[in-house]
């Protein structure tokens, strides 16, 4: 790909990180222009082992019920439930990759793509964004770091009305977050400098 000048960052690069549970994540960074950046974080795929385990459990339970009740409807119902459950899981629960698109002077867009291809997008205008920070949280028995966007309060100029976390399903570790944080802050600094000057 024809690169820009010597001092500018690469157009596209891919690195691998790990999430808080130890799964492999791939961070794909696309640099379109000094004012537009896209981060794509791919979550670990659904593992064959867990899928087989769940299916076997459900079918064994159904077979156990069948031997008690002698009703073959239970077996067909079990197959139906497994299929529906798998489809529902792929469409509503399993996230394939999460994307963060920052466009200077326009806003920040977060997209979650599910395993079935469904995409759910949220766009926050730059006028509402106060800052992007890394925050700590207590999650079950761990203390984890997460990246979040702070939104301005329309009533109070220095207040914060909402905290929007990013990469909620991927849950990357601090090293990955620092990468994303640095790039976001560069663009936000750009934006603040531009809004300060008339």
């Amino acid at each position: 790909m024809a690169g820009p000048g010597a001092g500018e960052p690469a157009m596209e690069d891919k690195r691998s990180f790990s999430d808080i549970c130890g799964g492999r994540l791939a961070l794909h960074r696309r640099y379109y222009s000094p004012s537009c950046l896209e981060f794509c974080l791919s979550c670990p795929r659904i593992s064959l082992r867990s899928l087989t385990a769940v299916t076997c459990t459900v079918w064994l339970a159904a077979y156990g019920l069948f031997t008690l009740c002698e009703n073959s409807m239970i077996l067909s119902a079990a197959i139906f439930i497994t299929l529906l459950g798998l489809l529902g899981y792929l469409h509503f629960v399993k996230i394939d990759h999460e994307t963060l698109l920052i466009i200077d002077s326009l806003g920040i867009q977060m997209t979650s793509s599910y395993a079935s291809g469904k995409e759910s997008t949220t766009f926050i205008e730059m006028g509402k964004v106060k800052d992007v920070i890394i925050n700590e949280a207590i999650y079950m028995q761990k203390v984890i770091y997460y990246l979040c966007i702070l939104l301005k309060d329309p009533v109070e100029p220095h207040g914060i009305s909402q905290v929007v976390p990013i990469f909620q399903s991927a849950k990357p570790r601090l090293d990955c977050l620092i990468e994303v944080y640095r790039s976001c802050q560069e663009i936000l600094a750009h934006q603040k400098a531009a809004s300060m000057s008339p």
């Binding site: 690169g3 379109y32 002077s105 997008t121 949220t122 006028g127 329309p154």
Partner: protein, 581 residues
């Protein structure tokens, strides 16, 4: 700040010309609405823009030039385009350029640094954002959190750049009224330039709607006048009408229909949606009601129902009698106070006897009554369900009576017990100060008080058991009625038109926008595609819910338990305009 140029996708293949649109200085964005083609007379273009500005209150102006060419520009074209910049002065002057057949675009935005016409110009960076003009025109943006203290108009102005874009396109409809077949002086390209969109059915419906609405409005006013004058005067009838849920439902439907056929134009898009939702809901209701009616008539089900009704009522009465016999014995191994048990048991048994006689008296007329009530199903499924709920209340009236007797007795007992307990401890309730004060009683007062207290406390298990049994029965009946009411409520308040719109035309109800970065080459401006992010279904239901009868339980679980414990009567399904009992 980077200059954002919102460019309609329909103009991407148009011939060269002038860009016409609105400049929003706060967000440094230029919203291009149309392209004016060569040849044109500048005076006529300015006249057209002034007309549009007056009609739509949108500051439409010439923003720059658009060039769609084959190869590298000729010198003359370049000078000509720059010359146009002096004719239609606008800060900043936008110059968009595209090579025919390729995806490479060129954008330049020049701004003069000083007031003098020969001052040096500086260039801004430009970002191109493509948008589908038709979808943005037709869609309605729903702000994420409705702030209660702001008005709708205020929110549009302060909500940010994207709401301004939507607003600009929506209000400039008058600019899109001319297409290329018009003989006007100025030739435009926009989303309707290939021909103004219209539908024959919609036009016919609009023409027919006027007289039909007038006729229906007259009929409905006659109906409401008739219902208001005759029936509500005498007191017993007005009390019965207020208790029946059928009347409530009919009144609700009458109100809704009056709203739909009213000849006033809808004030805003929210009113329009409400009218459409109400109409679709009423039509669906009637369709379901007719379906139910045809199903009931098919296999002569009315006769079956009428035959089954009296034995069912008999069966219920018999079961109640068994229950009372069980209570009069040793229920669940508990030992009751014999005398009180017998008194209460006989009292309730006599009531059941009266009830059975009443049912047997009514039995010859049941089929006719049912048939006539069934006809009302053609008014709607909700009316049929309300009638069902009323029939259930009438058939279980004896359970209601028993519950009231049991509750009153228990309540009296509890109040007596609490007052005598205070006496036992040497205190009394001060009505003036609303608190418990100490008091010195005489010996005979204390003696009688303690005696009564002992009697009441030993009779408590019997009364409590009767109260418990009848309260459970009553709660069962109330639960069944509640489910029926819930179904009626659902049919009444579900916004079906909005859900259908969200399913078939998702761009009409927008929660926001989403951007996609198009193919990017180094050195070229950034190109984005702006698409509409539709509102999720749950938000659609929440925003466009129709107001229902309001038959929601008014108590929280805590207060309900408290009332049950103290024996106060509960009316979980309070309806509008009910009198306190």
């Amino acid at each position: 700040m980077v200059l954002k140029a919102f460019f309609p996708t329909c103009c991407a293949s148009a011939d060269s010309g002038l860009l016409v649109g609105r400049w929003v200085p706060e967000q440094s964005s230029a919203v291009v609405l149309a392209v004016v083609h060569f040849p044109f007379i500048p005076v006529q273009v300015k006249e057209l823009l002034a007309q549009v500005q007056q009609a739509s209150q949108v500051g439409v102006a010439v923003l720059g030039t658009w060039c769609h060419r084959r190869q590298e520009p000729e010198e003359s074209l370049g000078h000509f385009l720059e010359g146009l910049g002096t004719l239609f002065s606008h800060e900043p002057w936008l110059q968009l350029c595209r090579e025919r057949g390729s995806k490479s675009w060129n954008c330049k935005a020049t701004r003069r640094q000083g007031p003098a016409p020969l001052a040096p110009a500086c260039e801004d960076q430009v970002m191109l954002i493509f948008y589908d003009q038709r979808k943005v025109l037709l869609s309605r943006l729903h702000p994420p959190a409705a702030l209660p203290e702001r008005q709708a108009g205020d929110a549009t102005a302060s909500a940010g750049g994207l709401a301004a874009v939507f607003d600009t396109v929506a209000r400039s409809e008058v600019l899109f009224q001319s297409d290329r077949f018009d003989e006007g002086p100025v030739r435009l390209t926009h989303w309707q330039s290939e021909g103004v969109e219209a539908s024959i059915l919609v036009e016919l419906a609009k023409r027919a709607a006027g007289p039909v609405c007038l006729l229906l409005a007259c009929l409905l006013s006659l109906v409401s006048a008739a219902s208001a004058c005759r029936v509500f005067r005498p007191w017993p009838l007005s009390f019965i009408w207020s208790k029946l849920s059928t009347c409530e439902q009919l009144r609700h439907r009458l109100d809704q229909l009056t709203l739909v056929v009213s000849t006033h134009r809808a004030e805003g898009p929210a009113q329009l949606m409400r009218k459409a939702n109400t109409l679709v809901s009423v039509l669906l209701d009637m369709a379901l009601g007719l379906l139910l009616l045809s199903w009931l008539h098919r296999k002569d089900r009315f006769a079956h129902l009428a035959e089954a009704l009296v034995p069912v009522a008999d069966r219920v009465a018999e079961e109640l009698q068994h229950l009372l016999q069980w209570l009069m014995g040793a229920p669940a191994g508990l030992k009751m106070n014999r005398a009180l048990d017998q008194v209460l048991g006989r009292f309730f048994l006599y009531h059941i006897h009266l009830w059975i006689s009443y049912i047997h008296l009514m039995s010859p007329f049941i089929e006719h009554i049912l048939w006539h009530l069934g006809l009302s199903a053609c008014l709607g499924l909700t009316v049929a369900l309300s009638i069902l709920s009323d029939i259930i209340s009438l058939l279980t009236f004896h359970i209601y009576c028993f519950y009231v007797y049991g509750a009153r007795l228990y309540c009296l007992k509890i109040h007596g017990l609490s007052s005598l307990w205070r006496l036992f401890r040497g205190k009394k309730w001060n009505v003036l100060r609303q608190r418990v004060d100490s008091c010195s009683y005489d010996l005979d007062q204390l003696f009688i008080g303690t005696l009564l207290f002992t009697i009441l406390i030993f009779l408590l298990p019997t009364t409590a058991l009767y109260y418990l049994v009848f309260t459970l029965l009553r709660l069962l009946v109330v639960t069944v009625q509640g489910l029926v009411h819930l179904l009626v409520d659902l049919i009444n308040s579900l916004p079906l038109y909005s859900l259908g719109l969200r399913l078939c035309r998702p761009y009409r109800l927008a929660a926001g926008v989403k951007f996609r970065v198009l193919e990017h080459e180094a050195g070229r401006p950034l190109r984005l595609l702006m698409q509409i992010n539709p509102l999720p279904f749950s938000h659609v239901v929440r925003t466009y819910r129709l107001p229902s009868c309001g038959c929601h339980p008014k108590h929280s679980w805590g207060s309900l338990c408290r009332k049950l414990f103290f024996g106060e009567l509960i009316y979980p399904w309070r309806q509008r305009g009910d009198k306190q009992d």
